[in-house]
């Protein structure tokens, strides 16, 4: 597929890299020469082009013409919108725009088709929803639904109290029917475990299976947990705004600590139910005075990864019950689990996974990028005539690092074993390590335009 990416900021670069690795033909456009230079530094096999991505001149140029998709992720909402509108005029079939301004984003929910946008991604909004979910679920479990909610994947960090499986060999762990431990993340490394592997305290295990079974599994280890009642948010950016709005709507008391007085005023005006405090969040006194030791949730989402991590740790140590930090840089991801921060989110990764999910469109029904980007979970439908169809799993030549987590056949959900056979039109939930999408694609014979299929998650 031919894809044009406008704007090579952090997100643009990440998307370019991932799409390129998956074998798409990429044209990357940016106004800034130094950004283009990075493309070559990273040895990406793409065309880089200098220019204003929203201008007709650029969009008409032969390089761009005939693109199947345009992804506009410059730092300006307006340029992204205009680029997409222009692109539609130039007969580019699909457009994706990043829109971050809360006011625009809200309008676009109603009118995105009129504006020529097929997908509007708001990374801050998506991140805020993710944090809100992390804070309000009953266990520190990260869950993701697949196959219209029939299949659930959940991760949980194991500690000594979870006697049901801590320090046990995997084959000795009692699992409910129709669910399996798909992966273990140990000290930041993702492994697909075999039956002899032992689960250690501090590991994060990923459990995949039928939704009811997974829930039953976690019921066993469910601790008594109070309802989330108040949350302190450090940093007053856009994520904080969306998050506070969301938490307020759930009846949770929110305090935002932000340093910039103007930003404080703006937040206070927009969020009538939130208490906005002006001050330096790294100042212990203000955190103490605002009751950090009794708070149910603490969210560090300032612009600085290091600060977020350290303050989240500090909050945890002082008694905050659940702490979440924003960590944009993927290289810090392995640290998060070791440090004891309950969860880390990266708006960039959330956004990239949203765009990838869209691009993969019909063939991969839903895609979920695990935090550190080391593994993906996605759904697909077995097309008629694929190599793998009709073979038992153990004979299918599945590459290492790929697990078929679930097969959905009609109304049935099967958690497959080696002897199970994959049939045409089965719906699969696949767990894969690393960026081995293209391997899987050839295995499932998924060439051609993804937009031919009507099913789109």
């Amino acid at each position: 597929m031919k894809i044009t990416v406008i704007g090579l900021g952090k997100v643009g670069m990440e998307i370019t890299r991932r799409l390129c690795e998956e074998g798409h033909d990429i044209l990357a456009i940016d106004k800034d020469e130094s950004k283009l230079a990075k493309i070559y530094e990273n040895n990406l096999d793409v065309i880089a082009m200098k220019g204003n991505g929203s201008s007709a001149r650029i969009l008409k140029s032969p390089e761009v013409a005939g693109s199947d998709l345009l992804v506009a992720v410059t730092n300006s909402d307006e340029i992204n919108m205009i680029a997409c509108m222009m692109a539609k005029k130039m007969d580019i079939a699909r457009t994706v725009a990043r829109i971050r301004d809360p006011d625009h984003a809200r309008d676009l929910i109603v009118s995105k088709e009129d504006m020529g946008l097929d997908l509007v991604v708001n990374p801050e909004y998506a991140a805020a929803m993710e944090i809100s979910r992390l804070l309000t679920v009953a266990l520190p479990v990260h869950t993701e639904l697949f196959a219209d909610g029939k299949v659930l994947m959940a991760d949980i960090t194991v500690d000594e109290t979870m006697t049901a499986f801590v320090n046990k060999k995997l084959k000795n762990v009692e699992l409910p029917k129709a669910c399996l431990i798909a992966a273990i993340s140990r000290r930041g490394e993702m492994v697909i475990p075999g039956g002899k592997d032992i689960i250690l305290p501090g590991d994060t295990i990923y459990v995949l299976g039928h939704a009811d079974s997974v829930n039953k599994f976690f019921l066993k280890i469910k601790k008594k947990r109070q309802k989330m009642q108040d949350v302190i948010i450090l940093g007053g950016g856009r994520i904080s705004y969306y998050l506070a709005e969301k938490l307020n709507s759930l009846g949770i008391r929110v305090k935002i600590i932000e340093q910039n007085p103007d930003r404080c005023r703006d937040l206070a005006e927009r969020l009538p139910e939130t208490l906005v405090l002006q001050g330096d969040g790294s100042d212990i006194d203000i955190l103490k005075r605002e009751g950090i030791k009794d708070t149910d949730g603490f969210v560090a989402i300032t612009g600085i990864d290091e600060e977020n991590l350290l303050l989240a740790l500090l909050a945890k140590q002082m008694g905050a019950k659940r702490v979440v930090a924003k960590v944009s840089r993927p290289s810090y991801a392995p640290l998060v689990e070791r440090l004891g921060v309950d969860a880390a989110i990266s708006p960039r990764l959330i956004m990239v996974s949203e765009i990838l999910r869209f691009i993969r469109g019909g063939r991969l029904l839903s895609l979920f990028l695990l935090l550190n980007g080391q593994a993906e979970v996605f759904e697909l439908i077995v097309q008629p005539g694929t190599k793998i169809a009709g073979k038992a799993l153990k004979n299918s030549g599945m590459p290492k690092g790929v697990i078929i987590g679930a097969i959905l056949r009609g109304e049935d959900t099967i958690i497959p074993e080696g002897n199970d056979v994959i049939l045409e039109n089965d719906r699969l939930v696949v767990f894969a390590l690393g960026h081995i999408m293209h391997n899987i694609e050839s295995l499932f014979n998924l060439g051609g335009s993804p937009f031919e299929r009507k099913t789109y998650y």
Binding site: A268, L275, V276, Q278, I286
Partner: protein, 479 residues
């Protein structure tokens, strides 16, 4: 300071005032009473110099803040001083202080009178007295702005000086359009009331007088016992309705006329205003029933009328509330400070200011608990800028300061505390009747001249909402 322009504008004001006396002159002709010649002379006395002043050549048409404040204050002083001429010429009043007090009371829609026997006055004078309520209610300057487009340049400054409420309610993009629209609604409401009053059995002349009195929230009557003289439930109900209506923000009336029917419902100020009315009525009714043994219907009827009359700063009376129990009188005294809504014809501190004061007090307390909290003051969903909050706090302080100082002076004249305090509260808030010696069934005639002069200024300060007048009287202004 653009002196020539101010003089020329004052000339226009005089001509307009002379024009406003014409209806009274025709009425005196119709009734063939003794006030015919005084009106003729007054009109000439005002129109001639007014005409001469308008001949002043104005080269520089710049109007700044200062000119706006100066014109507003002087125009009010001049209209009040000259508006008293018919009273003096006709012999209805004998001293300048009385005439100034009476006219100022009229234009500021106070309704405090120094005339003991109004029923003896000729019809022309009565009509003029009440017409000043009508003109002053929506603001004479706003009226002049609506009528004379040549004042366009000065419009914004003048409007700001005369309609200084904390929330600007410019309904239309242009001030002139706004002024016209406001007057249109105002005249519409007045016509409706006059017709209803006639239908309810009030004589035509009286219905005009009381319409002017209630839509301007003034309170002058043509009966010595005010509305009580008619002893008609229908008339009282009509007047209650229109008093309360005119105590609300006229910008809201305009949005209602434009089809935004929920405007009243969602306006926090209107809700507070109606809430205060309801609570005051209930408390006073209970107090009257249990302390004085009133029959409940009568207690409701007189408390409803009196509360509406006082909170809207009208000052009509159906009962001598001075004889009510202390608790009821205290409620009424407090209502004198509350007043109507911003953008209404009512006076006093106004509900929206109390709303802002309450919210800012709550914020202050919250700040003690969370010293770093950033909390905006809100009206409904709207955020009130901090300058406005500060403006309101200062306004409240100045209001109380002027109230205190004036009460001190009036009591030095040998009047008792209740009389002094209620007289100042009733004039500063543009209500009219106070308590004790200046109660609803007596008047201000007994006060010494200096007292009358001071109270006249209280009315002006109250009507122009303090700042406009104080600015003109500050030293910096003239440098």
């Amino acid at each position: 300071m653009n002196g020539k322009l101010i003089i020329r504008t004052l000339g226009l004001v005089l001509i307009c005032e002379a024009g406003a006396m014409l209806p009274s002159f025709f009425i005196s002709l119709y009734y063939g009473e003794s006030d015919m010649l005084p009106f003729l002379y007054s009109i000439l006395l005002l129109a001639a110099p007014g005409f001469l002043l308008t001949l002043v050549r104005v080269k520089n048409k710049d109007v700044g803040h200062r000119e706006g404040f100066a014109i507003a204050t002087m125009a009010w002083l001049v209209t009040a001083a000259c508006g008293g001429i018919p009273f003096l010429l006709s012999g209805s009043l004998t001293t300048f202080y009385d005439a100034f007090f009476e006219t100022m009371s009229g234009f500021t829609t106070t309704g405090a009178s120094v005339i003991s026997d109004v029923e003896a006055l000729p019809h022309g004078i009565l009509f003029w007295r009440s017409l000043t309520h009508f003109l002053g209610g929506m603001g004479t300057i706003v009226l002049i702005l609506a009528l004379i487009p040549s004042l366009k340049v000065a419009a914004m400054q003048l409007y700001k000086a005369e309609v200084p409420g904390p929330t600007k309610s410019k309904v239309l993009p242009r001030i002139l359009q706004t002024a016209r629209q406001l007057w249109k609604v105002y005249v519409l409401i007045s016509a409706a009331e006059a017709i209803l009053l006639v239908l309810a059995g009030m004589p035509l002349f009286d219905s005009f007088i009381h319409t002017f009195g209630s839509v301007g929230t003034g309170g002058f009557s043509c009966k010595n016992t005010s509305i009580g003289a008619y002893n008609s439930l229908a008339i009282e109900s009509i007047i209650i309705f229109f008093m309360i209506l005119c105590g609300m923000n006229f910008a809201l009336h305009i949005s209602i006329l434009r089809g935004n029917f929920k405007a009243y419902l969602y306006d926090p100020e209107t809700r507070l205003y109606l809430g205060i009315i309801a609570i005051s009525i209930s408390l006073i009714t209970l107090n009257l029933v249990y302390t004085l043994g009133y029959p409940p219907e009568e207690a409701i009827r007189s408390s409803f009328f009196t509360v509406s009359s006082i909170i809207t700063t009208t000052g009509f009376a159906t009962a001598d509330f001075d004889r009510w129990p202390e608790f009821s009188k205290m409620i009424l005294l407090l209502l004198m400070f509350v007043g109507g809504c911003a953008g209404s014809t009512g006076g006093a501190i106004k509900n929206v200011r109390f709303l802002i004061l309450f919210k800012s007090a709550a914020r202050q307390i919250l700040k003690f608990i969370h010293p770093h909290a950033v909390v905006p003051v809100r009206l409904g969903r709207e955020v009130v800028p901090d300058e406005v909050v500060e403006n309101v706090q200062t306004f409240f302080f100045l209001y109380m300061l002027i109230f205190g100082a004036s009460t001190l002076y009036i009591s030095s004249l040998g009047l008792d505390l209740v009389t002094a305090a209620s007289a100042v509260a009733a004039t500063l808030g543009n209500i009219g009747p106070g308590l004790a010696l200046v109660g609803p069934m007596t008047n201000y005639a007994a006060l010494p001249d200096t007292g009358k002069l001071l109270l006249s200024f209280c009315m002006l300060i109250g009507r122009l909402e303090i700042y406009t007048v104080l600015v003109v009287f500050s030293i910096r202004f003239w440098r």
